[in-house]
Symmetry: D2
Subunit: 502 residues, 4 copies
């Protein structure tokens, strides 16, 4: 889960997407569409494992296909129907990087054989005691074939002396720490589980007599499956033949947190607006964040000498929804502000070639975004964006927008300054690369570096006011804004990366 | 130029994009970016021809690379720098289709040798007397290696007895009829020309000491070239070494129309919003069309029993700009209407796999668009779209949106009903497939077929009121809405297609 | 037909292979196997054109698929059955080169439309007045889309005013000069023709009710077709529906040479040993050449001090057959000589990577050939090879063999020294690169350069004594050994290459 | 090591090739050429692992690249120089199969991390107690990520409590049974070892200051390395920095067999003729086998009514050398026999497409071999071949040869009938598929099935008389001919395959 990579042009080190389905005659095709709807969670690689019963051998066979690339390039009809046979499947999307044929072994799902049969795993999240566990296991004679912390989970399951898979998992989940939303496929069951704090999302759904799990409900919608509920933090759900017959999933508790610690960044940026996560629609939360930003950090005052309306523009497509919320709120009280499309996002972003003296990132940005000169020229412009990580892309975007000669540029950010890394799966760059950390949170300095006329962030209080509290235990992890880490980080920072990255 | 193909999910048979550059040390890389910014005009194939002077042979060599696929997949650094050497280049994007390895010969630019040296051509448009000319040329002993009407232009140039290329071209342009925006590369010059009616756009620009032509100015912006002016309808512009020295392009007139007949559909749908065509910014025109639609075809009246605001949604990304115009106008007078994002467009549209009993187009649409249930549920919804061709996609989209249980769905279209084919390069499907033709323009019947609560088209008068008249001669071709064809169609309809399509 | 290229590791600029079939339900699959059996005649590219009757349109459609690469990589089941439909086909193999995406247009068969319908051409050979004809045609307004001399044939057919295809062809064949074995596909016929001197081979065969033409009979054997006879020099054979009914091919004469001038190099090296060409089995001729070499240029005398037998070794696989002939003849009189395998040829010749200070050709040779040390060590070794062109490969081979410490190395060549280029399709390198030309035919000097103990060539007289004279008119072109060119070379040497190679 | 696969057209389930190099600045390029020269030992997949010292991290990094396909297609300059950096490397070739993306995890070398650092393994051979060990390890909590028996070796090394790698290996080699020639790369050493019976070959060589190991010496010749000696059966050789300095390899003994049991089939068919294995040149042994066959099973008697000589033909290229030996011996006493080339082997064997009613294997054979009709027609023909496994290919070959109408066909086989499977790495098909097993060794019945005039096998005694006994301990495994298995097979036959093949 650990490598540092540019996702798209946002310097957020990405997350992953997991999916599982039980009892569907076209499990692999469902998994394909499910992955498609989770593509935004990881563009480096994707994989599907299916469980196929071989009647003549009276045993299960696990089929696998995984590769680097986008879901749509990795799978084709032949692979989905002839290779990936079987009624159950788990799948995984991983974040994007270049090259790295070396890391092929890290592509998930992992598929192994252990004493009780076949076992496959898809994991979204990050273990915070991976380093410790790894050293311990190696000492005991374990070999590691990947550099992924997810492999540890498999070793621990195989080494557990507990009698059945649920007891094994309960044992394992009391050993590992950190964030994990997992789908596990065994010879006769599909299992999903979520860490005690519910850091990453994981949903449970149904499609006819099939049962499904997915990181986001967008996976359910694309195949018209029904959303039932979240997998609860600290809960294991097991689906087997019996569940299909009774219609009642088997639920087990392995932990009981006082307060959940959902990743608030999933609402700010990462999840798709059409998904439900943490019991609420993302787009609704995102619009609320946008309108609260408008309340807290309104547009600059009217300029008496300028009778043209202030333009509020979104950065397509990441801040579309929040911008609607912002403008909608502002329009209630002010007439001098209007929403406009100032940037066009290309559907064909591709290779770029440097010329001497040019900045490759600048060119890449121009192949992705183009400005609508007429909209921006001579105007006071407010750009609503979701977050600032390194600031590099935003700096280039500002530079690009300035070519249209706007009168002023004002930045409004729908989250507080990011000052600290995430150890639970959202792989930001190192502290030293975070623009807000570099400027010790001094917003005026950041504004200068970004070269804009004003810059305002949403406050942490207002952010927490914008998100839902649908259960008694609902709470959020805001460590990247506040440095308050809800789960202890056993591994000394950076250590695990240096030690096991090969 | 002629095949019928689905472009994206819009059943408009597409157009092409042309590009030319003279006197740039990295002509091919410039052409690559230029094509990138014209990708929306054709996704089937792309090609670049460069002119390289070989001092040891004292002659020019034309390098070429072209293939099926998107620009970003066809070219790489090695091809652009090692194969496509030379200081001048022309390039071409062609519309998208499946398979058709048979048609490889039709990929442009075309490159030939004739009595005066090398000759290469990129053509956007459609000749209306291609059939007649082709038969005549064949009778005279000419062989045709492609099924493209553009090949005719090359034969006519080679067969002209006029002394220089300009005189040859004047002769040829008085023989061919129809629409043509062309870039031509000869051993010592880059030439651009546009048909007398200026049906397709063609712009002229400058970058340092380099001269450029492109279908749309988006090609200039991406490489930071300066837009000078349009190539005039009926004008030939020639760039050679002398022009580089004097800084003054050589302009020639071969025709003088009373009134130009720009393709109004370029403004409605085809061109990029950030481009300038026909002397005006596309996004500005498109917003004007949107606001005029609001004036002429406003949202349904308020429902006293429903105090929730009416939602206006765009179809991303084709109607984004027009929707902004629509909402902006409506907001002036009504408080019960607001803009919302009800559809998310995926950045990863890919392969889809049919299951028995499923509609492949429906699945494909779902991999492209996802609905924001919370925005639409229980609401009165207005969808602003740019045009309806066959109606198939819109029908599916309506079906998809209905899954969110909106209270009502109202369609507002920023163009009149399409009732007749285009013979000038915008390849709509056959008459019989046009939904408005099938229903003889009866809007109520179309509404029923689309299964919406109301349907309103912009009128032709209001459309013509929305577009700019920047010169005395400005005029528009509206044949697809009105059946009034400004240029006679020599070829009996369909004949040329049947005869020469192999 | 003209580019200079290394074929395999032999510096002979290669030839091509042509194939045609009429009236077979799986014409494309037959053509595929036919090309496979002609693969040795050209490894650069391959193509197939099929003629498919479309009953609903009541016309013929020509399908085409061609690409760079080996036959087996270019075609697959889908292309052969779904793209290349139709009952008749022509096909072509072209010589091997690197890169050259520029030359894609030169890949044959060529397919065009002309006044009488579709027309496709496969050509093996080389026109000697191509330059003259090309300039003339250009002057008359013709454009050239390829740099191939074969395109000229198509233009001349299209421009002929004669009434039917046979008369047109008769006219064209009286205009063009040089060597040509061609297969032509029209809407209703398959036509084969051969130049008046019969320089390149062309065979005529039958398979059930299907008729076939191929450069070599190896194409017939692979699909178990029956060899009927050669297409005669100066003959046109036309196959149409009527021929299928009557069972009698239509034969036409357009020329009547006093003496044929078959390329003797086809027997020495180029054709496959299992083929029949020029009315005789190649392997039989090649063995005869080998045994005549033994008679004329026997092994060195026995060395009284060395009681080990002299080793005769072949260069696999090109001199296998001739070596058998040589050893067989020698064994009649001498007991001190035996055949051994001293070189192994790898079936997997591939990419090679240079290290500083290394000779890439040497490495490549080593990936292709490996020596059997034990066979050669301390022995007097005779290497039988078919010809020496540049001598580079042989020099490296001698160097390689010396690593096994043979006592002596003696070279015996089954052809005379090559001192002059071929203008009829066998593209040797330029005169200056020919080792025998460089040494003005001085065999002792060549021996020194090759660094062997003795070197002997077969004499021209003995060579001519080895080849068959099956008809009254049989004769051979030996220009590469004698400089006597049977057909005048209109184009000044090299001129056409410089002028038209782009 | 275990899957059953057609190798080329011979139904022998193949072997593998291993390679290792220490202390060479271009270790990966050397490994590439080494693999190239071992390509015949496995065509399914290939891989290279290199060890690179990262000074800034003060640790070793293992780079890896492996894939399905031929060596020449898997690697390119970029991968060899930019990915596979480092001064030491091990490599592996694996047998050929179709598809099986599922088995990607089985491609060697394997690379893992264990308590002492990095570890990589290349294994040629087959463990006979793999099943037992696997179950035991699983019971102890081990997970298996591949279905290869080679993975067991890695687990055992990691779990050993012995202090250094040599002691660990000694322990492991006393646990595993069966055949193994292995190359192992650790952070600071390259290690090679061979099972106590020396079943598979493994050579030790030197190139400047670099040390090498390879399955066959052909790998040394291609890079001009010097052959030093065999890795002894029961020996471990370790190369580290100290060895480079002292010039003396570190040798360790872990077993001492009374008699070695080299696989005699390596001499008959599998190894390359230019290699030295088991202390002798393969081609020399193979010629001896051929001449002994001539002594024991001479050609049929002369036919007084037929004055044409009997033809002895080889099956290219597998029986080339043995045929030379056979003919050479026969020629000493008989004048009525001569060697001829009756079959040509194509260098371009490729895809084949079935037509209804055709036998795909027959077509494939015809694309590979073509007969020289003139050589065989009306003749008494002796085919010398190395072995008969299933007999299918030979049956087709006889059928093909009969098309040339030979008078008689006589088969002479340079090995005894194969009646029993191999459990030591030479994967023949199942017993029931072996033609000699099916006919219970009845040669007359086999002759009838093959439809030839006579069939003679070399006897086991004469075979054993043909092979070298260069050391006191030299001995051979002839289990496939005699059912006498020198190493006990713990795993019940087929069990391991069924159990662990996924």
């Amino acid at each position: 889960m650990k490598r540092y990579i540019l996702r798209d042009q946002k310097s957020i080190r990405a997350n992953c997407g997991v999916f599982g389905i039980y009892n569907h005659p076209q499990a692999a095709i469902m998994a394909y569409y499910g992955l498609h709807a989770l593509q935004h969670r990881g563009q480096e690689s994707a994989g599907i494992v299916t469980s196929e019963y071989l009647p003549e051998k009276r045993k299960y066979h696990f089929n696998i296909h995984k590769d680097f690339g986008l879901t749509l390039n990795i799978f084709n009809a032949k692979i989905l129907t002839e290779v990936l046979k079987g009624n159950s499947a788990i799948a995984h999307n991983r974040y994007s990087t270049a090259g790295a044929s070396d890391r092929r072994s890290n592509i998930q799902p992992f598929k192994v054989v252990y004493k009780d049969g076949n076992l496959a795993l898809s994991h979204n999240g990050n273990l915070t005691n991976a380093n410790t566990l790894r050293l311990k296991l190696q000492k005991e004679g374990t070999i590691f074939q990947t550099t992924s912390d997810s492999e540890i989970i498999l070793h621990l399951i195989a080494r557990s002396r507990k009698k059945n898979i649920i007891n094994k998992l309960k044992e394992v989940f009391n050993i590992i720490k950190g964030s994990y939303s997992v789908c596990i496929l065994t010879d006769d069951a599909l299992i999903a589980a979520r860490d005690p704090f519910g850091i990453r999302p994981l949903s449970f759904g149904k499609l006819g007599n099939s049962y499904l799990f997915a990181s986001e409900t967008s996976s359910f919608d694309i195949i018209e499956a029904e959303y039932i509920r979240e997998v609860e933090p600290g809960e294991i759900i097991l689906i087997d033949e019996e569940v299909v017959k009774t219609g009642k999933e088997k639920s087990f508790r392995f932990a009981n947190a006082k307060e959940y610690k959902h990743c608030i960044f999933e609402y700010i940026y990462f999840s798709r607006p059409d998904s439900i996560i943490f019991n609420e629609k993302v787009d609704k939360v995102r619009r609320k964040i946008g309108s609260n930003l408008a309340v807290e950090k309104p547009p600059p005052k009217q300029d008496r000498t300028d009778n043209k309306r202030i333009i509020v523009m979104n950065v397509p497509d990441s801040s579309n929804t929040a911008t609607i919320g912002y403008v909608s709120e502002v329009s209630k009280t002010r007439k001098d502000v209007k929403h406009e499309i100032g940037l066009i996002r290309s559907h064909y972003v591709g290779r770029t070639f440097i010329q001497p003296g040019q900045d490759i990132r600048e060119i890449r940005l121009k192949t992705k975004f183009s400005i609508i000169r007429g909209v921006l020229e001579g105007r006071r412009v407010i750009i609503v964006d979701d977050s600032i990580v390194r600031g590099n892309t935003l700096k280039l975007l500002v530079k690009l927008i300035k070519k249209a000669n706007p009168k002023e540029i004002h930045l409004r950010i729908t989250s507080p300054p990011i000052i600290s890394p995430c150890f639970y799966g959202m792989d930001f760059p190192s502290k030293e690369e975070l623009i807000a950390y570099r400027h010790k949170g001094n917003v005026e300095e950041i504004r200068k570096e970004l070269d804009v006329d004003s810059l305002e962030y949403l406050s942490i209080d207002k952010l927490l006011e914008s998100v839902p509290y649908s259960t008694k235990k609902t709470g959020y992890c805001t460590a990247c804004f506040t440095c308050k880490y809800p789960i202890p980080i056993d591994d000394i920072e950076g250590n695990s990366k240096e030690k096991f990255e090969d």
